[in-house]
Structures are given as C-alpha cells and as structure tokens.
C-alpha cells in the first residue's frame, strides 16, 4: 500500500442539474451509503436468483449537511432536485481512490431545529444498477 496522509477523505462532489460536479464536502455533516449485506445472508432457501440479483443492485445514499447558499455550493446543486429528473454522479475521493455513484435524488429538504442551525437532507438511490466500486 502506498504511503498516505492522515487527512483521509479529500473530496465529495455531486453533479448539479447540468452535470457539472461541485465539491461540497465542507457542507456535509453526515453521509450514509447503504448496500446489501454479504450475499450468504441475502439468499433465503425459498428465494429465487432473480430476487437476489435485484437486491444486489439495490443501494441508497443519504447526504445531510448545513445549508450553504453560496454560488456552486450545496444549495446550487440540490435546488434543482424537485424540478429536474436527472441522474447525478456522487463521487467520493480519498487516498487517491475514487468511488463514483450514479444517483437519482428523490428529495431535498431543509430543517431548522431549535439550536438555530439550518440543515438539509438529500436521499437518493443508485440510478443505473452498476455496483459502485473503489478504483
């Protein structure tokens, strides 16, 4: 393994509606990427192979963060989610390795809790059925 720094995760970018990736890592408080478990757990005795394959390609993504309305920051990216049906590439980069995901975002919400912060949430699912792999 090559030498690495302690800085770890360096980039998270999400496409805006025109397909241009925007780096929004600094606006993120929370990121989840849910994938199927190991396949042994997935396949029941009475389940068909087709169901297993569908489940294998089933991924979901959740991004949470603080609202940033500056130009090309997270709000510029997600404000078109309700109006534009477009697949967006979510890319995670760290240690020189990249994980790209073609994602369809299904919502974009703001939340203003009592502590005065203004946060947002954007859930999505994998759009093209290709398993995202680190490369």
């Amino acid at each position: 393994m090559a030498k690495t720094t302690g800085m770890g995760w360096t980039t998270l970018s999400v496409d805006d509606s025109s397909g241009t990736p925007q780096a929004i890592l600094n606006d993120i408080t929370n990121f989840q990427f849910s994938t199927p478990r190991a396949v042994q757990d997935v396949t029941g005795l009475n389940k068909s192979a087709i169901e297993r394959l569908e489940l294998l390609a089933d991924f979901s993504i959740t991004l949470n963060g603080v609202v940033n309305v500056a130009s090309n920051a997270q709000h510029d990216v997600f404000k078109t989610v309700p109006s534009t049906s477009v697949n967006r590439t979510v890319t995670i980069v760290g240690n020189g390795k990249t994980l790209p995901n073609e994602t369809l975002f299904t919502d974009y919400q703001w939340n203003r809790p009592q502590d005065g912060s203004l946060t947002w949430s954007a859930p999505g699912v994998l759009a093209d059925g290709t398993v995202p792999t680190w490369a």
Binding site: T4, M7, F31, P36, R37, T62, K97, L104, N111, W134
Partner: protein
C-alpha cells in the same frame, strides 16, 4: 437517523439485509459559528430590502438596537426598508463553517430504517478498505449470476 422524514424509494429487502457505510461530522463538534463574510452570504454581499408594512414596531426597535443601517425608500407607492451591503444579515446566527477536523467513519448493520452494531473506524483508509472489499464481493456475486 432520519429526522427529516424525507421522500425515498423503498428498498427491496428488509433493513436487516443491508449494511451501511457512513461518515459523520456533527454540527456540535465539527462546525463553528461563522460570520456572513466567511460564508459569502448573499444579503451581506448585495444588501437586501424588506417591505416596511411587514415590520412591526417592536421588530423595528430590535433592528435599530441591533445596529443595522437602513434607509426608507418609496418604490411605486410602497415603502421599503433598504439595508446596505456589508452588514451582517438577519440570519447571521445560522451561518456555520466546517472545522478542519477528520470525519468519524462508521460501519453498521441495517440502513436508514434502523441501524445496529455501529462500528467506528479510526482511520479513513481502514474504512475505505472495508468498503472496497465489500463492494468487490457484491460485484463478484453479480458477475456469477
């Protein structure tokens, strides 16, 4: 886990069949309050205006006490309070800036419907390796059909 009650496409299987890789930088520990200038706040950069009729007397008093500078201007017979650029906006309290601090890297069973057995990786590369091996395993399985 899901404070927003957002709209999602339901996964095919139950939560127990999923595994989640996540990273967290909670506002309490990874962000600090920031000024308008630090976050390129639009109101701060360009100024803003509000209809005078929408500002009750007590709010007007607060605005004056808060030190905001404004002028009263008539646009088409309606009175507006026009705030000049370069002063903090009314939402200055909500501005946050990320601290230069590493995320917490998590691995857990389940998905957004419920998480269990959360493990924390101390370094990004350990989390990345775990993630990469898992994805590779799934890809191999699909390849076999």
């Amino acid at each position: 886990m899901d404070p927003f009650n957002v709209r999602r496409i339901q996964p095919i299987g139950p939560a127990s069949r999923y595994k989640t890789y996540g990273a967290a930088a909670p506002i309490r520990t990874h962000f600090r309050k920031a000024t308008c200038a630090e976050v390129d706040c639009v109101d701060y950069l360009k100024g803003w205006r509000t209809k005078a009729i929408l500002v009750p007397d007590n709010v007007l008093l607060d605005i004056k006490r808060g030190g905001w500078k404004f002028v009263r201007v008539d646009f088409d017979g309606e009175e507006f309070l026009v705030f000049e650029a370069g002063q903090r906006c009314f939402r200055f309290n909500t501005h946050r800036k990320r601290l230069d601090r590493e995320f917490k890297y998590l691995v857990a069973d389940g998905d957004w419907r419920g998480l269990a057995n959360t493990r924390v990786h101390t370094r990004f590369d350990f989390w990345q390796e775990d993630f990469a091996l898992h994805q590779d395993q799934i890809k191999t399985r699909i390849g076999r059909g």
